[in-house]
Amino acid sequence: MRIVVDVELCTGCETCVSSCPYDAIVMKDDKAFINEYCQLCRACLEVCPEGAIKETETAEAAAGTADRDSYSGVWVFAEQRDGRVADVALELLGAGRRLADARGSGLSAVLFGADASEAERLIHWGADRVYHAEDPIFEQFNDEPNVELLSRLIEEHRPEIVLTGATPIGRSFFPRVAARVRTGLTADCTSLEIDPETGNLLQVRPAFGGNIMATILCPASRPQMATVRPRVMKRGEYDAARTGEVLKIEAGGVTSRTRVAETIKEVSETMVNLQEADVIVAGGRGLGRPEGFEMLEELAGLLGGAVGASRAAVDEEWIPYSHQVGQTGKTVCPKVYIACGISGAVQHLVGMQSSDIIVAINKNPDAPIFNVADYAIVGDVYEVVPAIIKRLREVKGR
């Protein structure tokens, strides 16, 4: 896709020039011209009074992978930590099944580390086949062994699509695989669909801090690789009777130049994990002080939920980063998200806007959080939240 100025329609009014966040619009011979620094953000499209700025399809494309059409199958790289498969892998098997069915191909999982029972679990959650490598080198996460072995498997078996979670592990090593195999990788996809016309994977993701959504294609290269955040896709059905194939893979001499000397878990007060919680009570800058989080913890406790935070609250060091929700934190999808003193900057919304029900409590009636809230409470957090706590205690009889 390219954005171009129709010189026939351009009157040289220069209105578009200041609309470009990348200064990619310049005047040439009194007509606007969009140069090669255009990042396709579309800020200029509606700005032209003459409608001279348009999107066009491009013919140019990368050369791509030889024998592109011989690539087949959907793979999910199932991340494991401490011998346990991460939930995001199960969610991706759910998404992967849809994609595999649409392509008329099979769904496989790739598991490095963990034991045979975890491999079996992947079958029960929807994989037709699991490529399983058991080796002590996978007990701790280092990029290189995972990159080496996954790349080898990709080169040997030629899957068409390879997915993994957009987690610290996935986001660290998957780009190396894409570089080694020389293919396209799209990060943080919020939706994955097969284009019925071309069979290509349509990858939708936020960009520009979440201000826009982009549909990305990897038309000529294979495999098409994508990472997806936890809690964005839904798991498929668990079927205890489901059978499949587990293929033992030899880790054959993979090495690592880095070494994990120690793993430190940051223990937080709340017992319920943020990403699995059905209810999240989150605090932002509007709390004004770290003690505000004690109040939110009490509310979360009564609701059986977890405590989240906006980047502002984490920056203030009122609560550890592990509670951060948003573009540079976690993506969550609880049944109820209660945002307390959170303004609702786009970067935060990206991390929680798919929650089933959003409740916003904020002093400022114009706070952007109210645009995505199902229930809007304009008020002082320090009056409303205690009132909710009090009422809940009454209702619950404690």
Binding site: M1, S19, N35, R171, L217, D374
Partner: protein, 260 residues
């Protein structure tokens, strides 16, 4: 120790707004800044130089105006600045960008490469690790702390979802850094003056020994098919009254929806 810090000039996406009528981005008044994560990378480079000696070179791939970002890095202490600029780079996705940067870095020579975790416009966090792969060196992503620094290796904290790992790595290495790592210093007056006069070295594709087919659009396996504004929300209920009344209403609503 030769430290190369890769930086990117980006629009301040925290300030970018969407025009609700046209559903497009509004640029006016939004400044171009050094990608915030890259500032932390520059600061890390300066601190490492203070410990181990050597030099800090900042490198960016971008249009001519990206020079401003390079000068800002020089104003806080970077020794040299390199601008990779060429029409041939137009339309680069992360793979082509990482390839281009790694060709440049290979030409320049390095012991350590520092990058910010991600750029706040692209948000992919891919270029750093991809560069490390092309250069054949190890990398550690999401570095939030240095435990030990030595001329032949480092011990760093790698941020994970639920805490952090302590990772040992030999040199050369590429690190991507997060904001918790440090507090970037501010430029001194002397630094600003130095930045004004600094000579920015310009490199084109011919200077870096790059394979033309792997640059720009031709070297980009991914392409943008479409861009659109995120969905706006549906119905909203305002809960009014005293805090007690608001609390009552909310609990009633949530119970009605079987959420409690």
């Amino acid at each position: 120790m030769k430290i190369v810090v890769c930086i990117k000039q980006v629009p301040d996406t925290a300030e970018v707004k969407i025009n609700p009528e046209t559903n497009t981005l509004v640029r006016d008044g939004v400044p171009s800044i050094i990608n915030p994560y890259d500032l932390h990378a520059v600061e890390a480079g300066l601190q490492l130089k203070e410990s181990l000696g050597g030099s800090v070179t900042v490198l960016t791939m971008g249009p001519p105006q990206a020079e401003a970002a390079l000068r800002e890095a020089v104003s806080i202490g970077a020794d040299d600045a390199v601008l990779l600029t060429d029409r041939a780079f137009a339309g680069s996705d992360t793979l082509a960008t990482a390839y281009t940067l790694s060709c440049a870095v290979r030409t320049m020579g390095f012991d350590m490469i520092l990058c910010g975790k991600q750029a706040i416009d692209g948000d992919t966090a891919q270029v750093g690790p991809e560069m490390a792969e092309f250069l054949g060196i190890p990398h550690v992503a999401y570095v939030g702390g240095f435990e030990e620094i030595a001329p032949d290796g480092l011990r760093v904290r790698r941020q994970m979802e639920d805490g952090y790992d302590i990772v040992e790595t030999p040199l050369p290495v590429l690190l991507t850094v997060v904001r918790e790592l440090n507090q970037p210093r501010l430029p001194s007056l002397k630094g600003k003056m130095k930045a004004k006069k600094a000579e920015i070295k310009r490199l084109s594709h011919a200077d870096i020994g790059a394979d033309v087919e792997r640059l720009g659009l031709a070297g980009s396996p991914t392409q943008v098919k479409r861009i659109f504004a995120p969905e706006a929300k549906k119905e909203r209920k305002a809960l009014t009254g005293t805090p007690e009344e608001q609390a009552d209403r909310l609990i009633e609503e949530l119970r009605g929806l079987k959420c409690l």
